[in-house]
């Protein structure tokens, strides 16, 4: 127990990636590591990267499950471009993840996961731990089962139980590496295994055992210290986008004094919202796990007709199935929140991987003229705010609202400053007041929202449905001019929301050469890239869109103040096309469809190219041959 020989190095930010078989418990220790980083006062951003298979055969490349944690003392907006420390539990997880590790990075491996069988499954002809191929990394091969056994030598614990704590042992080693407190994880173990004293003991012992192993091991010579972040005071927790949506829904219902109803069907990567909501019974929340996606949304429409804050949650394929029902909600002008946690498509696509390719569907994916507000959350924590915003707009304007998140921010976590509920604004539903004058399609002259009369309100019995209705009275009408009027009214109502949302904010110069415009989950990488470039003295401005329909009303002005606009998207240019069409302004796209979020460094490199090209050739908006349209 002599720490005298150990060195200490201070770092501003670090990325750690835990990788192993699907059954190795990597998601669990990744989450613990992340929570502990938050607990220790750091900024954190994480990303789970797991296969579609639930328990793929052991040792295979396609069975590798990983969890990445990026933490530091400031400006942590992404889950990290390169891995500084990789924990790999077998040969396959090393092979799959090695490309992420930076040179001189630390690789902690379970050497027992490199036997002949594992090497063969991973497709290694030689053992990479022995053939010198890892020379440019700092490799720490550890026989984890053996060391674990040693750690338990004086404790009477069944071997089976000991073996189950191998991931916790590995976590203990990483905690030593970053001199992290064990407290948060010990508390979690106590809570998680309450009543099972032997399991608690084994896990706590393994955690401490991992720490002690590194402490005593002469190969581990250096500890890394990451200073606390300067965050605004308050209570914080780690939160994923899906958790934030679930909490946002409960808070929104409370603020609107409405019961909450969720109609949903399980689909990756949105199901965690259903999981969370289904556990909120003591908050009076009702949910229906429906027989399919269509029943998910139509049950929500039924609940909305009955006066609930109604919600349906889904991902791409489910959204496709819901489109007809969304049209019904638009026609009946009922408040409804549709959360689409986007994933890589088309069709089943890459179910566990992220993409931003449902934007066009969110905007236009319905028959008929069917406008609806579309919002997009910028980060995991922002999912909470945007859920409240979706509820506010849905209830104030009597309209379904689409909230776009994606597989990345849905599952990635970051610290969230927990709001004080009393300080959040109230949400006022547009209930009809007067039976004597009530007509179902009478509108509020300002918002154009119709009144909401729900069953049980005496004297306001009325019928609505998917057929076109006469303006005001709501009687079924096939009158040509009435249809024109109603189509335009529905459009005008949605367009008018632009007066009720924040204007687009530009960070950096307010006019000039180059504006980077991002939306949704690209926020983190875009912001990091621009911060780096601005810090290097480059002239680039930045803006982020959270409102996609309607756009902020100053968007056109902003766009026309810059010579060049570039939009990074995890699709082939959907926002780019919308903006070019609406504002008649040429836009360049940076497009990635690999099932993965942007790395900040990817954007930085492309933006640097753009910045340098300005000196060579200015790009007038009307000369298309001067610049590549996409990078």
């Amino acid at each position: 127990m002599n720490t005298m020989n150990k060195l200490i190095e201070h770092l501003e930010e670090v990325t750690v990636r835990f990788a192993g078989d699907s059954g190795d418990g990597m998601q669990l220790i990744g989450t613990q590591f992340s929570d502990t980083a938050g607990f220790a006062g750091n900024e954190v951003n994480t990303f789970p990267d797991y296969p579609s298979e639930i328990r793929a055969p052991e040792g295979t490349l396609y069975g590798v499950s990983a969890f990445q944690v990026h933490f530091g003392s400031k400006n942590i907006h992404t889950s990290g471009d390169f891995v500084d420390v990789l924990v790999a539990m077998n040969a396959a997880s090393l092979k799959v993840n090695l490309a992420h590790v930076r040179e001189q990075g630390i690789i902690i491996v379970n050497a027992e996961g490199f036997d002949d069988r594992n090497l063969k499954l991973a497709g290694y002809t030689n053992n990479p731990l022995e053939d010198g191929s890892l020379a440019k990394f700092n490799v720490f091969p550890i026989e984890m089962n053996k060391e674990l056994k040693k750690a338990f030598i004086e404790v009477d614990t069944p071997t089976k139980l000991v073996q189950k704590t191998r991931n916790i042992f590995a976590l203990g080693i990483t905690y030593w590496l970053f001199n992290r407190p064990l407290e948060a994880t010990v508390n979690w173990i106590n809570k998680k295994f309450k009543g099972k004293e032997d399991v608690i003991m084994a896990n706590v012992h393994a955690l401490q055992g991992g720490w002690n192993f590194a402490e005593k091991n002469p190969d581990f010579r250096k500890q890394f210290i990451i200073d606390k972040s300067e965050l605004p005071p308050g209570k914080y927790r780690s939160i994923t986008g899906n958790q934030a949506v679930a909490l946002g829904l409960v808070v929104a219902a409370t603020k609107a004094h409405l019961p909450l109803f969720l109609g949903s069907y399980p689909i990756t990567p949105a199901t965690d919202i259903l999981h969370a909501i289904s556990g909120y019974k003591k908050y009076g929340v009702k949910h229906l796990q429906a027989e399919d996606e269509i029943a998910g949304i139509t049950s929500a429409i039924g609940a909305a007709f009955g006066g609930s804050l109604a919600v349906t949650t889904t991902s791409g394929p489910g959204l496709s199935l819901k489109t007809e029902a969304i049209g019904l909600a638009i026609m009946t002008e009922l408040p409804l929140i549709i959360v689409d946690v986007m994933r890589a498509g088309p069709s089943t696509g890459l179910p566990t991987k992220t993409e931003q390719s449902d934007l066009m569907q969110a905007m236009y994916g319905r028959h008929g003229e069917a406008p609806m507000p579309v919002l997009a959350a910028a980060s995991s924590a922002d999912c909470f705010d945007m859920t409240l915003e979706a509820a506010r707009i849905a209830l104030k304007y009597m309209t379904p609202v689409m909230l776009l998140t994606d597989g990345y921010i849905g599952q990635a976590s970051e610290p969230w400053r927990i709001p004080e509920i009393d300080k959040l604004p109230e949400i006022a539903p547009q209930f009809a007041q007067d039976a004597a004058t009530f007509k179902p399609y009478l509108r509020n002259p300002e918002t154009l929202a119709r009144q909401w009369a729900i069953p049980g309100m005496q004297g306001m019995e009325h019928r609505i449905g998917g057929l076109e209705k006469e303006d005001g009275s709501g009687v079924v009408s096939h009158d040509p001019m009435n249809h024109q009027k109603m189509v335009e009214l529905r459009q005008k109502k949605v367009d008018g929301i632009a007066n009720d949302i924040p204007e687009l904010e530009v960070i950096g110069e307010q006019e000039g050469d180059l504006l980077l415009l991002s939306w949704g989950s690209t926020y983190g990488a875009a912001k990091t890239a621009v911060e780096h470039l601005q810090a290097q003295g480059h002239n680039i401005s930045y803006a982020h869109l959270r409102y996609l329909n309607p756009f902020p009303k100053n968007l056109g002005d902003v766009l026309h103040k810059f010579d060049r606009i570039v939009i990074p998207e995890l699709n082939l240019g959907q926002l780019k096309n919308l903006i070019q069409a609406k504002y008649v302004k040429r836009v360049m796209g940076i497009n990635k469809v690999q099932g993965k979020p942007f790395k900040a460094v990817e954007l930085e490199e492309k933006l640097l190219t753009l910045i340098s090209m300005r000196d060579i050739k200015k790009w007038p908006a009307n000369k298309k041959e001067d610049l590549p349209v996409d990078l």
Binding site: D35, F39, A184, N187, W188, L231, P233, G234, K235, Y236, R237, S238, I239, Q243, L247, V250, T254, F261, G263, Y280, K281, K282, Y283, G284, K286, L288, A290, E291, I294, A295, G296, T298, S299, A300, I301, G302, A303, F305, G306, G307, S308, A310, E324, A325, G327, I418, I421, P455, G456, M457, Q458, G459, E461, H462, R463, I464, G465, G466, V475, V476
Partner: protein, 343 residues
């Protein structure tokens, strides 16, 4: 069970449920024959009319809510049941009625139907069965018989039909009945019974389509032939039929057979007595439907009341949670399992 009428408006008449709109179904449409029993039934329910909701899908039946002066929702094709389920789960205080058709409910909405049956949300489902798609002007439906000539089966339909009541029983519906459009008083009684059943009530109603499938049910519904070709199922009553109740149904093993009560050897004691609480019997009776020799079963096939309704279970689960864990504290929900404080 049902709520008491509220003080001010306890005495409705059927007129209170007729909105000021023209009924646009074709003259002689079977649906019209369901509308008036439904309007006459409403005052009997003892429920304030603002607490009654009619929900429909698409098809000729879909217009029904417009003709009831209650709350109403005309949904999209096949989706009346999930709309109604969401409403009833969110609002157990309401009396929820679904009006659907053989296309709407058996075809595009078939998946919702079987799940609604097993889920047992308390609602009353009236399925107008005319064995044809009428609103799209005459194609065969999932209840059209094999060989039926329609616009989309000019050489005869190749499909075998669903037997809706057997499908409902197979999907665990608790109340399953069949009526028709030619006896309004009887139909009204059937609807009343459905409404009194707590849980999912399914009533298949033979409704004649004069335009695209005229006379499809004449044998079973016309006054002159129906006594010989249908048997009316009533709890605890023997299964007798014929103009003078001279025939009866007897079970030979699990097989229903017809016996002639005027013959010396047979007596009323040999006749099967209906038990609407017996699921096995309900299946046997339901399967008489397409028999060429047996009368078609009408009335209540099954009426089980021991299964709690879904929306009650939802409420019970919430109450149990609140009782055992206390009412949810939003602040602690937001704090979650572990949080930290920065000062």
């Amino acid at each position: 069970m049902l709520e008491k009428p509220h003080s001010g408006e306890s005495k409705y008449t059927s007129k209170d449920f007729k909105p000021d709109v023209d009924v646009r179904w074709c003259a002689g449409c079977g649906a019209i024959s369901v509308l008036s029993p439904a309007q006459r039934l409403m005052p009997e329910l003892g429920i304030p009319k603002e607490k009654i909701v009619f929900i429909s899908g698409i098809g000729c039946s879909g217009r029904f809510p417009y003709y009831m002066d209650t709350y109403g929702f005309h949904g999209i094709h096949g989706r009346a049941l999930p709309i109604a389920s969401g409403l009833k789960i969110a609002r157990p205080d309401l009396s929820v009625w679904v009006v659907t058709g053989d296309g709407d409910n058996m075809s595009i909405g078939g998946n919702h139907f079987i799940h609604a049956c097993r889920r047992n949300v308390d609602m009353n489902v009236l399925m107008f069965n005319n064995e044809v798609y009428s609103l799209t002007k005459g194609q065969y439906s999932p209840t059209s018989h094999r060989g039926q000539i329609t616009k989309s089966s000019p050489l005869g339909a190749l499909d075998d039909p669903f037997n809706p009541v057997a499908l409902a029983l197979g999907a665990s519906a608790t109340f399953v009945a069949r009526g028709h459009d030619k006896d309004r008083a009887q139909l009204q009684q059937l609807l009343l019974k459905a409404s009194q059943h707590k849980g999912f009530s399914f009533v298949e109603i033979y409704t004649n389509c004069r335009i695209f499938n005229d006379g499809a049910f004449d044998l079973y519904t016309n006054a002159e032939s129906r006594d010989d070709h249908t048997v009316w199922l009533e709890h605890d009553k023997p299964l007798v039929f014929g103009k003078n109740k001279e025939k009866g149904i007897k079970l030979e093993g699990f097989t229903p057979t017809i016996i002639d009560l005027t013959e010396g050897g047979n007596s009323i004691n040999d006749v099967l007595v209906h038990n609407e609480k017996d699921s096995t019997l309900a299946f046997i009776l339901a399967n008489m439907t397409y028999s060429e020799t047996l009368p078609r079963p009408m009335g209540t096939l099954q009426n089980l009341d021991e299964r709690s309704s879904y929306e009650d279970r939802v409420v019970e689960q919430i109450q149990h949670e609140v009782e055992t864990k206390g009412i949810g504290n939003l602040e602690s929900l937001l704090l979650g399992g572990s949080y930290w404080e920065i000062k």
